[in-house]
């Protein structure tokens, strides 16, 4: 609040990122995203992740809709959705989401409905976890920016 916590916040951010990398929630691709962020697009990571969440939310909703249908049989469509999700997840470096999506996809390729339901659950869980972590990360980032912006008259 007084602008003295910048270092601490940065340390917190680094710690959080490290733990996320450690857990395998994120991978190097996320660093690529961070590299792409520069002065011309200062909120690039935030924007991309936000769009990712918007899109993924839609996809997950559709997946749930599809899977909840009793007479459901359209595994191909599930596969398409999952491809999307896998693609975007790997693009932002959300490794764990990507991996569980891949598992989900292989279940869908085998037309395995219980597997798909289980897969969806796991994907949703991972997705929410990622979302929480990202939320936390951005919150820290925002605090850090606020703190970094504090200037005292000399």
């Amino acid at each position: 609040m007084l602008g003295l916590g910048v270092d601490r916040l940065q340390a917190d951010i680094n710690r959080l990122l490290t733990s996320l990398f450690h857990q395998g929630v994120l991978d190097e691709q996320f660093l690529q995203l961070q590299q792409l962020q520069d002065d011309t697009s200062p909120t690039f990571v935030y924007d991309v992740i936000n769009i990712y969440f918007d899109e993924s939310e839609k996809l997950l909703r559709n997946l749930r809709l599809l899977l909840m249908d009793r007479e459901f049989s359209d595994y191909k469509k599930i596969g398409l959705h999952l491809n999307q999700l896998v693609g975007s997840s790997s693009s932002i470096g959300a490794r764990r989401v990507r991996n569980v999506c891949a598992a989900f996809r292989s279940a869908s390729e085998l037309n395995n409905r219980p597997g798909c339901l289980r897969g969806l659950e796991v994907v949703e869980h991972e997705y929410h976890y990622l979302k929480n972590m990202m939320h936390e990360l951005f919150q820290l980032e925002q605090q850090r920016l606020l703190a970094a912006g504090v200037r005292y008259p000399v």
Binding site: Y52, K77, H135
Partner: protein, 921 residues
């Protein structure tokens, strides 16, 4: 005195005869002995001592007097005298010893001589004519011997000569004459000797002079030391009049000081103090020190360290004080500076630690908040899993009891979710993370929706009404989700505390309130979104006829976790977060939330918010996001409707409390008096279904769910549909879902929509870049994933390229056909047409020069029949596949389909760079 002492000493010394030679330093030891002993001696001789003094100011007459009368004075003199006396004693002692030795030697020599004389006595008849004897003692001895010899001689002479003859007498006279001569000679020598010894006596007999010398030395020593010391010394009598003063730098003459007191001499600060201090010392009889700062005309501001000791006379009476002062002004200033610095330092340190503490507390608080938010998140995710699964479970076949249990489960879960959402919202608002969205919405619909939702879960005999003034615009721009949240919160609050009567919402336009001028920022933010419309202030009253709020509870009403009273909290439940969130949200949007209330008559919560008035042609990207709210009421008459009312059915089961199961009740507790197509639709739907008793529970659960979802509708805009589909009881929805699954075989209607909007967007960009970027290589990215597009685009930007986007194979072919590209990055797995097929078609065009293959594949012929195509077909367009490394996307397959290379996903900057370098240069 001295003589007496001497004799005393001699007696003492006689005892110590054996220790003949004393070492020189023994004297100092003796000195010390004397120093310790402070006996008052006879000091009369000091009267003759003249203290030759030039520099100091001293009353020379009084000083000796003082010296005589005081202990200090007398003891010092005594010391001097003792010292001198001792030195004398020492000298005498040494002389005496020497004398003794000499005497002994002489006696020995005499004894020897006697012997010799006795031996030769008879042989030497002649009178001895040895004329002179050097030593007096010899002379004396010889004289005696001569005398004796003479007697013998004369006898012998007289015997030798004939008695009474002339010769005899002649001889006798001659010898007598000789004897007389010798005697005279002896006498003269003795007198000489006497004179000599008198002289030496004289030189030794002046102790006074030596004392004077000593005193002079002592004085010289004192002078030497005190010469440049900033010291003032003095003696004052009982009345504190100066008798003696020594001052290195006298600014006053002797007569100005002596005989006067401090007060008489100086004027100014500190003088009185020093006088008092001296008096105090005099009274107490104890020497002490003090620092006194003088502020006098005479020598300005100076600080002296003053030492004062009382002086007693021999009788032990106080006769005055000795006073010594040293100027320590500089030291005091330095010391004060140091003290001040130290004090400053301490203060600063204290402040620092205070600040650190504050920071620490703040950080802790923030961390706690953070943790709360995180925790809430952590709880929410699994909880939403639980609730979601329970909801799914409720769509399966269950018996009554199971369903009942499940409903309890869901509603409890919803409650917890709501609570967590509240906490999250609050922490979001507080931490400033919450972002407001500017979207177009219809206030009437929002009000109606909120009331509908409230009515759906209403368990009381209440009338819900909405009243919107005609001048309220049909469409305004604001953050509809937040506004709904506020309204829902306030309404549910009102319903909670109202047992009969009505609860309602009133909307009307007001002029700009006074507090609004401060909120420029908010408007700026909205203007940035490209909305230049006029703004309008709308006042929204949420009123009820409930229990009201006592006056004293109003101030803490909007505080977190506070309810009007503990009783209420127990009776009505709730977290007490709702109003706090509402207030924060309203303030975030630049408005104001107020409340007026009367106990037992009801309360009115009023919030005033600014909105932009939307123009009809304004195109908003976000429109689809809240289309569920807008599109539910497509009827034109609905948009201008200004009054709604929802009444519960009389005799509702819920007014009695328990969830009674009954076959005769309609599934809905709400009677609709206004055109409410949606709910009507539900009624018709569910009335078609047999097994009413079940439906009550199902629909109930469904409604509750809807209300919950509405409060967090940001995530789930289409909650209702899901369960209706799952139920399989809603024929119309059923068909829709069927058709959607049919459509999905070609890519899915949902995707199609979003893709089309995206692609139309990109098309515009494309034409722009066409004009600008003629020199730069043209790159086409074929990719369906928004994220991938964003990332790739940003990477390209960093590498210095701009790219065109196609969302699927068909678009890619269209783009390639329309303009020439230097490179195509092709995603393999895409809806509508995948990358492999698109590549195949492009290659076949390059080979054949026509798009027949594409036309065969079903792509619009007209756009493709373009003559320019043939010209470009000579060059092979590099197409690089982007694969996700799955089995379906093997590299062999890529090459087999005519691709030149591939990049494995996810694309990194490095890979992209290498690829571009390879194919663009």
């Amino acid at each position: 005195m001295v003589c007496e002492m001497e004799t005393d000493q001699i007696e003492e010394m006689d005892v110590e005869v054996l220790s003949s030679m004393w070492p020189e330093d023994v004297g100092t030891e003796a000195d010390k002995q004397f120093n310790v002993e402070k006996s008052a001696g006879d000091l009369d001789m000091l009267k003759e001592v003249d203290i030759a003094e030039k520099r100091t100011m001293a009353d020379l007459k009084r000083l000796p007097e003082l010296m005589n009368s005081t202990h200090q004075g007398s003891s010092q003199l005594t010391n001097l005298v003792k010292q001198w006396e001792y030195m004398q004693d020492h000298a005498v002692r040494l002389l005496r010893e020497e004398l003794k030795i000499l005497t002994r030697q002489r006696e020995e020599a005499e004894a020897k001589e006697q012997k010799i004389i006795e031996e030769h006595n008879f042989e030497s008849q002649e009178p001895e004519n040895v004329p002179v004897l050097d030593e007096t003692s010899d002379l004396f001895r010889r004289f005696r011997q001569k005398k004796r010899d003479k007697l013998v001689d004369s006898k012998t002479i007289e015997i030798d000569e004939e008695f009474d003859t002339v010769a005899y007498w002649k001889q006798k006279a001659l010898s007598l004459e000789k004897m007389l001569e010798a005697s005279t000679e002896r006498e003269r020598r003795l007198i000489e000797k006497l004179n000599e010894s008198l002289k030496t006596m004289e030189s030794h007999s002046a102790p006074v002079e030596e004392l004077t010398q000593n005193l002079k030395r002592a004085e010289g020593f004192l002078h030497f030391i005190l010469q440049n010391a900033p010291i003032v010394m003095g003696h004052q009598d009982k009345d504190l009049r100066y008798l003696f003063i020594y001052n290195k730098f006298p600014s006053l003459r002797e007569q100005d000081i002596l005989g006067k007191t401090d007060v008489e001499i100086f004027k100014g600060g500190g003088v009185k103090e020093s006088e008092d201090f001296k008096r105090e010392v005099l009274e107490k009889g104890k020497a002490s020190k003090r620092e006194i700062t003088f502020e006098t005309d005479l020598f300005g501001s100076k600080t002296f360290l003053i030492y004062v000791e009382p002086v007693y006379n021999k009788a032990g009476e106080k006769i005055g004080i000795n006073y010594m002062g040293m100027e320590v002004t500089d030291q005091v200033i330095k010391r004060e500076k140091m003290a001040k610095l130290r004090e400053d330092n301490a203060v600063r340190k204290a402040m620092e630690s205070e600040l650190t503490k504050t920071i620490h507390i703040t950080e802790e608080t923030m961390r706690a908040k953070q943790m709360l938010a995180t925790m809430s998140h952590e709880i929410r995710s699994p909880l939403s899993g639980v609730v979601g699964m329970a909801e799914i479970l409720s769509t399966t076949k269950l018996d009554k009891e199971q369903r009942q249990l499940l409903n309890v489960m869901i509603s409890s879960g919803d409650l917890v979710l709501q609570l967590i959402n509240d906490i999250l919202d609050l922490s979001k608002v507080e931490s400033g993370v919450m972002k407001l969205e500017a979207t177009k919405f219809r206030p009437r619909e929002v009000v109606k929706h909120v009331l509908q939702t409230a009515a759906a879960s209403l368990k009381k005999d209440l009338t819900l009404e909405g009243n919107i003034a005609d001048e309220v615009p049909i469409e305004v721009v604001g953050d509809v989700l937040r506004i709904r949240q506020i309204l829902t919160n306030l309404i549910s609050n009102a319903i909670k505390f109202t047992h009969e009567g009505k609860v309602g919402i009133k909307l009307r336009v007001i002029s700009e309130p006074s507090f609004a001028s401060d909120n420029v920022l908010n408007e700026d933010a909205e203007e940035q979104n490209g909305l230049i419309e006029t703004s309008v202030w709308i006042r929204c009253d949420v009123y009820d006829t409930g229990i009201g709020i006592p006056e004293n509870a109003l101030p803490c009403l909007f505080k977190k976790y506070m309810q009007a009273s503990a009783d209420h909290a127990r009776k009505y439940g709730g977290t007490g977060l709702g109003l706090a969130i509402c207030k924060q949200l309203v303030e975030l949007m630049g408005g104001q939330l107020t409340v007026t209330s009367q106990v037992n008559a009801g309360s009115t919560f009023t919030f005033i918010l600014p909105y932009k008035v939307a123009t009809s042609d304004d195109h908003s990207d976000d429109q689809d996001e809240f289309s569920d709210m807008v599109d539910h009421q497509p009827e034109p008459d609905d948009t201008t409707e200004g009054y709604f009312q929802f009444k519960p059915l009389l005799g509702s089961i819920y007014s009695n409390g328990g969830p009674v199961m009954g076959n005769n009740f309609l599934p809905h507790k709400v009677m609709l008096t206004s055109p409410l197509k949606l709910i009507n639709g539900f009624i018709t739907d569910s009335s078609n279904i047999t097994g009413q008793s079940e439906t009550v529970q199902v629909e109930n659960g469904c409604y509750m769910d809807e209300s919950r979802l509405e409060t967090r509708s940001a995530h789930c805009p289409e909650p209702g549909h899901q369960y209706e589909n799952g139920n399989g009881r809603c024929p119309s929805k059923e068909t829709e879902s069927c058709s959607s699954s049919q459509a999905s075989s070609e890519g899915g209607p949902l995707e199609m929509d979003s893709e089309l909007t995206v692609s139309s967007h990109r098309e515009e960009e494309k034409t722009e870049t066409d004009l600008q970027e003629t020199s730069k290589p043209k790159i086409l990215l074929v990719e369906d994933n928004k994220i991938n597009i964003m990332v790739a685009k940003s990477m390209m930007k960093q590498l210095g390229y701009t790219i065109d986007i196609a969302n699927n194979g068909v678009e890619a072919i269209t783009a390639v056909e329309r303009s020439s590209y230097d490179l195509v990055l092709m995603d393999v797995c895409m809806p509508v047409m995948d990358g492999l097929k698109a590549t195949r078609l492009i290659r076949s065009y390059e080979e054949s020069g026509n798009w027949n293959a594409a036309i065969e594949a079903g792509i619009d012929v007209k756009t493709l029949e373009n003559e320019q195509v043939c010209v470009r077909s000579t060059n092979r367009l590099p197409i690089i596949a982007m694969t996700a490394n799955t089995l379906a996307e093997s590299s062999e397959e890529c090459f087999a389909n005519g691709m030149d290379s591939f990049i494995s996903k996810p694309v990194t900057l490095q890979k992209l760079k290498e690829c571009l370098q390879k194919y663009l240069h």
